[in-house]
């Protein structure tokens, strides 16, 4: 065991955005749901962080906690979210509200249900301008039209009077992006911005986000389960599992040298046309754990095919810390770095269909062995 025992992601309040040990818990009748369980990361202007994970891993709750969209009466929120030196968690609801739409803005997954069905686009956009800026309706409307124009809506001065249902899915998402950008936010959170869209439209929206980032030097957090989107857009990636970050690093580093078995599983389950056809898609066995009763030790252990390689029941007894494995690349795993790298090599070999030995190492023939049931 050669774990480097320094806590990774040192809390750095000088970053544009730094999240430190964020915990979000929802009390329910069945018990406390630990949706986010000690999350830390930081982000600079002009950079894009992708948060990746399965449904229920805490991605969306994280983004809504940053935006202050979680009802504080129904959840316990602890930790720090420091945006430009101000701790949003410690601020009053009213102060956070003033930052919403101005300093930070958000784009949601389903643009149809995220727009009010009874109000025209213009009404919904103008309202977003006028809540933060003291301008006349006519001036606000001009701003909105030029922003719609900027996000690529043709004949914006006409379409602005449409209702959401009269636009296509891609156009609606452009409207959402325009709405988020109206007051030039410094931080843009995009929660699965392309999931509900056609593939061709997805690419356009991704391009739009990238060009906006260049123009406004925006910090972007993109939440997705689409690893293709991550590779396309992000500088850094945080892989979340059961409310925690289990692997963090540059997209380059994490994709080239994934170290946590969960990340391996995610990468292995992406279909790729350029990979050999001999391998089947390889889903991660089992289901995500209940956030009420997390497994002891490493939350991924029941689904992990490698936990037997770790001695002394370490995986089931001790929760691994997120530690620096390579420069800027942090991993939360008890496996030795050598074994992790060997597993990654085996997986890539498997995906390339080159090595029979790799097949054995990366995918045990009995998937049930990792099933928590």
């Amino acid at each position: 065991m050669t774990l480097i025992d320094t806590p990774a992601a040192p809390f750095d309040a000088s970053s544009f955005l730094s999240v430190n040990d964020l915990r979000v818990q929802f009390p329910t009748e069945d018990g406390v749901v630990k949706a986010v369980d000690g999350l830390s990361f930081s982000l600079e202007r002009g950079r894009t962080l992708a948060i990746v994970g399965e449904s229920g891993s805490g991605k969306s709750v994280t983004s809504q906690a940053i935006m202050g969209l979680i009802n504080r009466a129904s959840a316990t929120i602890e930790g720090q979210v420091v945006l430009e030196g101000q701790d949003l968690i410690a601020m009053s609801n009213e102060d956070v509200r003033r930052l919403r739409g101005t300093t930070m803005a958000m784009i949601f997954q389903d643009p149809l249900s995220s727009l009010h069905p009874y109000y025209s686009i213009s009404r919904q956009l103008v309202e977003a301008v006028r809540v933060h800026q003291k301008v006349s309706k006519a001036d606000a409307r001009k701003q909105c039209i030029s922003m719609l124009d900027r996000v690529g809506i043709p004949s914006a001065e006409k379409r602005i009077d449409d209702f959401p249902h009269q636009l296509s899915g891609g156009m609606r998402q452009r409207v959402m992006i325009a709405m988020a950008l109206l007051n030039s936010p410094d931080l843009l959170i995009a929660d699965e911005p392309t999931t509900a869209l056609d593939v061709t439209v997805q690419a356009q929206i991704i391009d739009l986000l990238k060009s906006i980032q260049q123009e406004f030097n925006t910090a972007i957090i993109i939440i997705t389960h689409d690893l293709g989107v991550v590779a396309d857009t992000a500088d850094d990636v945080a892989v979340m599992y059961a409310g925690r970050v289990v692997e963090y690093g540059s997209v380059e580093g994490v994709y080239r040298r994934p170290q946590m078995p969960y990340t391996l599983g995610l990468l292995a389950s992406v279909p790729r046309i350029d990979r050999a056809r001999v391998t089947r898609l390889d889903p991660i066995p089992g289901t995500p754990p209940s956030l009420i009763a997390l497994p002891s030790g490493c939350a991924f252990r029941p689904r992990c095919t490698f936990s037997a390689e770790v001695p002394d029941n370490l995986c089931s007894d001790v929760r691994p810390d997120l530690v620096e494995a390579a420069d800027g690349h942090q991993v939360s795993c008890h496996l030795t770095p050598e074994k992790r790298l060997r597993n990654a090599d085996a997986m890539f070999a498997l995906l390339d269909g080159r090595s029979e030995a790799g097949v054995q190492a990366a995918t045990p023939s009995d998937p049930e062995s990792g099933d928590p049931a």
């Binding site: 003033r98 739409g101 949601f108 389903d110 249900s113 009010h116 069905p117 009874y118 709405m179």
Partner: protein, 330 residues
């Protein structure tokens, strides 16, 4: 839109025709003999037969129906060849020989109390029900919500005759807060009108308000969980605007349907409340007509009530197209 309205109106006319036929046939097979009811104790079979002929009751049922329909549009004269013919003005819904009055006139004179009762109760229950429903939804799970829901359940469970009798017993008889109800037109004596109507309004409204509290609450809770509410918050709108402009608009729209139909139903007469508070409305008229087997009046009231409900349906549908931009009438 225009063609939609025209088509809807045509189908309304068809529906009413069909409905009137069914009602007419239904009552024609009842064992009571309307001709027998036209004369009192000193009746001879000859008089009954003469009256039967005068009323056209000796004709085949379908021909009677045809006469009835014709009467609606051109009026009719009962016993044209007899020494004392009876004129029934357009729109003639029939003639109550029991009361010696045209059905149309009876309905017209009994409609105002029913109308005022329905309108007043409607306003009370909509204001109270919706306000309480919103309040409950915004304090979901807290003691205010639980209390409101408990009160609503009690209000919903109490039969209106029980509530009405309680109100009369305590407020009118025991504490003498209000005089005994005696209906007058609001234009004649507004004070007495209000004193008479206030209890019926409240008692009738309690039943409906209890339903609307629950309806509004569930609508609001559903809406507050919608994505567009989250968007409104993400824009940085104050909570007051999020609730008032975004949640209410979407949450209350479906209530229009229920409200329109409930109001229409009441315009046909609130039988129990009218009877308890002795309001001379359509409900009271319906009950006494049933007791007297006064068929023409029963047919008339049934048809009028049906017209209210059918028209309310149409109005609600049209209104929906105005308030929900997604609805296209075609």
């Amino acid at each position: 839109m225009t063609s939609y309205v025209v088509r809807r109106l045509l189908s309304v006319v068809l529906l009413l025709l069909l409905l009137s036929l069914v009602v007419f046939l239904l009552f024609s097979v009842l064992p009571t003999d309307p001709a027998r009811l036209t004369c009192g104790k000193s009746c001879t079979p000859e008089i009954i037969e003469a009256n039967r002929h005068r009323l056209g009751l000796d004709l085949p049922v379908l021909q009677q129906y045809w006469e009835f329909l014709k009467g609606l549009f051109v009026g009719r004269t009962y016993g044209a060849n007899s020494p004392s013919p009876i004129d029934c003005q357009v729109p003639c819904l029939g003639y109550s020989f029991k009361r010696g009055e045209e059905v149309t006139v009876l309905i017209k004179s009994n409609f105002p109390p029913t109308f005022w009762l329905a309108i007043g109760a409607f306003i009370v229950w909509m204001v109270v029900g919706i306000a309480m429903g919103i309040y409950s939804a915004l304090r979901r799970g807290k003691w205010q919500d639980r209390t409101a829901m408990g009160v609503a359940l009690v209000g919903y469970s109490l039969p209106s005759f029980f509530l009405g009798l309680l109100a009369i017993f305590f407020i009118i008889l025991k504490w003498k807060v209000l005089p005994f109800p005696s209906y007058v037109s609001p234009f004649e004596n507004p004070q007495q009108f209000l004193q008479t109507m206030i209890l019926p309004w409240i008692v009738l409204a309690i039943l409906y308000a209890a339903f609307y509290v629950r309806l509004t609450r569930s609508q609001m809770l559903e809406t507050l969980g919608e994505d567009f509410i989250r968007t409104a918050r993400a824009k940085g709108l104050p909570e007051r605007v999020v609730i008032g402009r975004h949640a209410l608009r979407a949450g209350l729209t479906p209530i229009v349907t229920a409200a329109g139909l409930d109001l229409a139903g009441l315009l046909g007469g609130a039988i129990i409340i009218e009877a308890i508070f002795s309001l001379p409305g359509l409900g009271t008229l319906a009950i006494s007509s049933v007791n007297d087997a006064d068929l023409p009046v029963i047919v008339g009231i049934t048809l009028i009530t049906a017209v209210f409900i059918i028209v309310a349906n149409l109005v609600v549908d049209l209104l929906y197209a105005v308030i929900d931009p997604r609805v296209r009438l075609a």
